[in-house]
C-alpha cells in the first residue's frame, strides 16, 4: 500500500491481559475502502479494534489513525470526533427509545444544537431502515434491529473512519445484504475496518483482508489473494477422506477436503474460506 494512502497504521502493537498475550507485535496498514479482519475467537481482533477505537490502551507499539496519535490526549479527542465505532457487545439502555439512544450518543459526540442533532439522528436511523421505529423502546426491538441501531450511532457526523466489530451478528440474510450494500457505499472515500467470522462477508465486501491469528497478522492482501493461497489444496470427493485432514460435506452430498489430495478426489476452485482455513488450520475450523 502506498504510504500516502494509509489512514490506519499500526506497528508492533502489543497487549497483554495478565499472562495471556492478546496482541503480539501486530503490524497493520489500511487505507480508504473496506478492510476485513478475519480470525478465530481469541485471535485478538476485538482487542485490536478496541485499541484502534481508543477505548483500550495498548501496552506497546504505535498507532496512527487519520494522521493522529491516540496516545496523545488532545489528538485522541480529535480522533474520536472523526471516527465511528460499533463494539462487539454494544450495551443498550432498554428504557430509551431508538431515537433517544442515538440522540444521547450524538450529544456525547458534541452535537450541541438540538435541531441539527435531531436531523442527524433521523438521517442515520433512515440509513439503517429504522426511521419508522424511532419511537420504539429499545427493549422491544429484535436482535437484528438492535444491531442496526448500534450501527446507526456509528454513522453520526459522517465519520472518516468506521470501526465495526462483528457488525453482521444477528442480522438475517436480507438485512445482511442491505448491510453489505450500505458498507460498500460507505467505503467509498472513507476507511472501514470490520471484523467478522463470515468469510462470505469478506469476499462480498472487502477490498483487503487481514487474517489475525495468535495476536499477529498472518495474512494481508486481497480476498482473491487469500483464496489463491489454497490453490492446489482444495478437493471434492464422493467419499469422506480417510486421513485427518480438514473436510466437510457440501450441499450436493460430496465432500470438500483441504490439504493433501484424497484418493479419487478431483480439484476444486478455492475460495476465501478455503484459504482462511488452511492458513489457520484446526484453530479456525474449531471456531467456525
Amino acid at each position: 500500500m502506498n504510504p500516502t494512502d494509509t489512514t490506519v497504521g499500526v506497528r508492533a502493537l502489543t497487549k497483554r491481559y495478565g499472562s495471556r498475550t492478546a496482541l503480539a507485535a501486530l503490524d497493520l496498514a489500511a487505507g480508504p475502502g473496506v478492510t476485513g479482519l478475519l480470525g478465530p475467537n481469541g485471535a485478538g481482533k476485538t482487542t485490536l479494534l478496541r485499541c484502534l477505537a481508543t477505548t483500550l490502551a495498548p501496552d506497546g507499539g504505535e498507532i496512527r489513525l487519520l494522521g493522529l496519535d491516540p496516545a496523545d490526549r488532545a489528538q485522541r479527542t480529535e480522533l474520536r470526533r472523526r471516527l465511528g465505532y460499533l463494539p462487539q457487545d454494544p450495551g443498550f439502555y432498554p428504557h430509551f427509545t431508538a431515537f433517544e439512544l442515538v440522540d444521547y450518543i450524538a450529544i456525547l459526540k458534541e452535537m450541541n444544537d438540538r435541531r441539527a442533532r435531531h436531523a442527524e439522528v433521523r438521517r442515520v436511523l433512515a440509513e439503517v431502515d429504522l426511521a419508522d421505529r424511532a419511537a420504539t423502546k429499545v427493549r422491544k426491538l429484535s436482535g437484528g434491529m438492535k444491531q442496526r441501531l448500534a450501527f446507526a450511532q456509528t454513522l453520526l457526523g459522517d465519520p472518516e473512519l468506521l470501526i465495526l466489530d462483528e457488525p453482521t451478528v444477528g442480522l438475517d440474510p436480507e438485512q445482511r445484504m442491505r448491510f453489505r450494500a450500505l458498507v460498500s457505499r460507505l467505503g467509498e472515500g472513507r476507511t472501514v475496518l470490520l471484523s467478522t467470522h463470515q468469510t462470505e462477508d469478506v469476499a462480498a465486501l472487502c477490498e483487503r483482508v487481514v487474517v489475525v491469528g495468535g495476536g499477529r497478522a498472518v495474512f494481508t492482501g486481497t480476498p482473491a489473494g487469500l483464496a489463491a493461497t489454497a490453490a492446489g489444496q482444495v478437493w471434492l470427493s464422493e467419499r469422506p477422506p480417510a486421513g485427518r485432514q480438514l473436510f466437510w460435506r457440501t450441499a450436493d452430498g460430496r465432500y470438500r477436503a483441504l490439504g493433501e489430495r484424497p484418493e479419487g478426489a478431483e480439484p476444486a476452485v478455492p475460495g476465501v474460506e478455503d484459504g482462511y482455513l488452511l492458513l489457520l488450520g484446526d484453530t479456525a475450523a474449531v471456531a467456525a
Binding site: 477505537a53 481508543t54 477505548t55 483500550l56 490502551a57 491516540p70 490526549r73 485522541r76 479527542t77 480529535e78 474520536r80 470526533r81 471516527l83 465505532y85 463494539p87 457487545d89 454494544p90 450495551g91 443498550f92 439502555y93 428504557h95 430509551f96 427509545t97 431515537f99 433517544e100 440522540d103 444521547y104 450518543i105 450529544i107 456525547l108 459526540k109 458534541e110 452535537m111 450541541n112 438540538r114 435541531r115 442533532r117 435531531h118 436531523a119 439522528v121 433521523r122 424511532a134 419511537a135 448500534a150 450511532q153 470501526i163
Partner: protein, 290 residues
C-alpha cells in the same frame, strides 16, 4: 386509479379540479378558513391540483423538518426542564437527566438511606443520649460517602451498560466523569441538606458533613487519574471512615473529625485544591483511554 386518487367509476361527472384563480388565491393565503379547508380537502385527494400549487421546495422541506423534530424529539422530563430553566444548556440537561447511572435507582437509594437516618434520629430523641450521638455520628460518617458512592455508580464499564458505546466519543473520559460527578454531588448535597435539620444535634455539628463531602469528592476525582472510579471511591470512603473513628478515639471525642480544626482542613482541600485539581484534571491523560 384516476389522477384524483379515487377509483375510476363507470359513469358520472368528469373529475373537478381547482380553477386557476382559486388555486392562486389559496397559494397567496387570501381564502377565508372555510374555503381553505375545502380546497385542502380536495388537494389531499388530487395529485394534479397539488402539483399545480406553487411551493417553495426549501420552505416545504424545512417545514417537514420542524414537524418531524416535534414528533420525534425526546420528551423533556421535569428535571430536564428545571435544569434548562436554571440556565443549563439543553444538551447538558439532556445528558444529565437521561443518564441511566444517575437515574431513579440511585436517587431512590440515597433518599432511602437519608430517610432511614432521619427516622432513626427522630426515634432516638426519645431514647438514651448515647443513642442520639450514635445516630448523629453515623449520619456524619455516611453523608460525605454518599456522593462518592454515586460517582462510583455513574461511570465505568461495570456500572454503565452503554459504557463501551460511549467510550469512543469525544466527551468520554474526564469531561463526562466530571459532569456526572458534579451532578451527583449537587443532588446528594441537596438531599442530605434537606434531611440534616431533622437530626438531633446542634446546627453547626449537623452541617459538619458538607466540607468533608466536597473534600472526599475531590480526593476520589484525583485518585481516578491512577485507578478506575470504583476502587478510588471505595478506597477513599474506607480511609475516611477509618480516619474519623481513629481520630475520634485518639482525641477522646467521637466528633473530633467534625470540629473546627478538622473543618479548616476540609475547607482548604475543598475550596483551594478543588479548583486547581479540576483545572489540571481536564488536561490530564485520564488513566489511559477509559
Amino acid at each position: 386509479m384516476n389522477d384524483t386518487g379515487a377509483a375510476p367509476r363507470p359513469s358520472g361527472p368528469a373529475p373537478w379540479h381547482l380553477p386557476a384563480d382559486l388555486a392562486g388565491r389559496y397559494a397567496a393565503g387570501r381564502l377565508d378558513p372555510a374555503q381553505t379547508m375545502s380546497v385542502e380537502a380536495h388537494l389531499e385527494r388530487c395529485a394534479r391540483c397539488r402539483a399545480a400549487i406553487p411551493a417553495d421546495a426549501g420552505w416545504l422541506a424545512a417545514s417537514w423538518e420542524r414537524v418531524a423534530d416535534i414528533v420525534d424529539r425526546p420528551r423533556a422530563g421535569v428535571a430536564e426542564r428545571l435544569l434548562c430553566r436554571c440556565g443549563v444548556p439543553q444538551h447538558l440537561a439532556r445528558l444529565l437527566t437521561a443518564t441511566p447511572a444517575l437515574s431513579r435507582a440511585w436517587l431512590g437509594s440515597v433518599a432511602a438511606v437519608l430517610a432511614f437516618a432521619v427516622l432513626a434520629g427522630l426515634a432516638s430523641t426519645f431514647a438514651v443520649p448515647v443513642g442520639r450521638a450514635g445516630v448523629l455520628l453515623a449520619f456524619l460518617l455516611l453523608a460525605p460517602i454518599l456522593p462518592t458512592a454515586g460517582i462510583a455508580a455513574a461511570y465505568g464499564t461495570r456500572v454503565d451498560p452503554g459504557h463501551e458505546l460511549q467510550a469512543a466519543t469525544p466527551m468520554a473520559g474526564p469531561r463526562l466523569l466530571l459532569l456526572r460527578a458534579l451532578a451527583v454531588q449537587v443532588t446528594a448535597v441537596t438531599l442530605t441538606g434537606l434531611c440534616a435539620p431533622f437530626l438531633p444535634g446542634p446546627p453547626g455539628l449537623v452541617a459538619a458533613w458538607v466540607l468533608p463531602s466536597l473534600g472526599l469528592t475531590a480526593a476520589v476525582l484525583a485518585l481516578t487519574r491512577l485507578v478506575p472510579v470504583q476502587p478510588a471511591a471505595a478506597g477513599i470512603s474506607a480511609c475516611w471512615a477509618a480516619a474519623v473513628l481513629v481520630y475520634g478515639g485518639w482525641a477522646d471525642d467521637l466528633f473530633a473529625a467534625f470540629r473546627p480544626p478538622a473543618q479548616a482542613l476540609y475547607a482548604i482541600t475543598a475550596l483551594v485544591l478543588l479548583p486547581v485539581l479540576l483545572t489540571r484534571y481536564r488536561r490530564a491523560d485520564h488513566w489511559r483511554y477509559r
